[in-house]
Amino acid sequence: MDWTDRAAAEEARKGNQLAFRVLVERHSRLVFRLAFRMTGNEQDAEDMVQETFLRAFKQLHRFDGRASFGTWLYRIAANCSLDLIRARRVRGERQPGLDATASPDPSPERVTRSKQLAGMLDQALEQLTEAERTAFLLRHYEGCNIEQIAKVLGVGNSAAKHGVFRAVQKLRCALEPAWGGAK
């Protein structure tokens, strides 16, 4: 079905199940990618994908079309992931590192390097605030522009821009000295 996101969301809001299916199939991979970056492991990311679409379905009436559907969904996915991260903190669990063997065909050197990098990045990401972390992941990995990030975070463009900058600064402070020794 050749619905635009907006038309599909409108149809889904009227109870058209097929329209919501179109949205799910269209955006699942993007949501998974963000959820994986945010949560750091595959199973949690899968759970977050389900949770994101479930929340999106229940909140369809709130989608007013001012932002794109993808941006709106990113916001929900980011919030779902942040909820999980907060819950982990409350339970005293550590945020798992990014999966080092995520590459489709990892060489032994690549796995070692990736594990090293993932471990350091994981610790560095822990030092970011929720907004900084979300802003950075959206900007750096998902290629979102400042306006989209602002909409996801529910802040102004300037705050979003500073969020990305502060995240980069913190990551550099945490990673560059360590990488100096690792490289």
């Binding site: 699942s28 379905f57 990045l121 550099r172």
Partner: protein
Amino acid sequence: MNHLSDEELTQAYYGDEEPESGRHLTECAECHAAFQHLKTTLDELLSETVPERGSDYGAEVWNRLLPRLPLEKPRRVWLRWWTAVPVLASLLAVAFLAGRFTQPKAVGIAPQARQRILLITLGDHLDRSEILLAELVNAGPEATDFGEERSSARDLLDENRLLRQASARMGDASRAAVLDELERALLDIAHSPSQISAPELESLQRRIENEGLLFKVRIISSNIHHKGQQL
């Protein structure tokens, strides 16, 4: 121009820099070196990969999600509680008319007014019957809960019986014949199981379509409305 700040270098990395900053970056060796340093760090982070998901991943997500979605059976606007108001009003009017037609020496109401009330009541009845039939004909195989359709058919059935009798008494045989056909279809719907299976629904739909019932009801309804406007 002063050297670029860290924030400006970060903006340049993401392509958000001001044109002036971009020009400075190409001309200033010191800023260019600082930029390259930043770029090395941030590019290194890009080498972090995400587990691949296949092209049918969206369908997998949907299949897992579907049982969890709080789906409601689509409610038909015409089946809400307030639709009972015109039904009851029609029934009252029909009952009144039926009483009048069964008393040969009825007094107190002019024949034209009586005819008008009948046409209005009949038009309203046919409109609601048409909606029920159209909904039924267009229902998908997933529409298994038939409770509301049954209940509406029962309401329409009593009214239809009175209107058919009134039409026959007034000598309008063709209208009475269509109402007779409609009555049989309404009977079938009213006596269907509350959870109808896809083959049962299909059989009902086929019957309505084969008899051209929806079309006949539309034609009569249109004639009635036209006559009603003329009176």
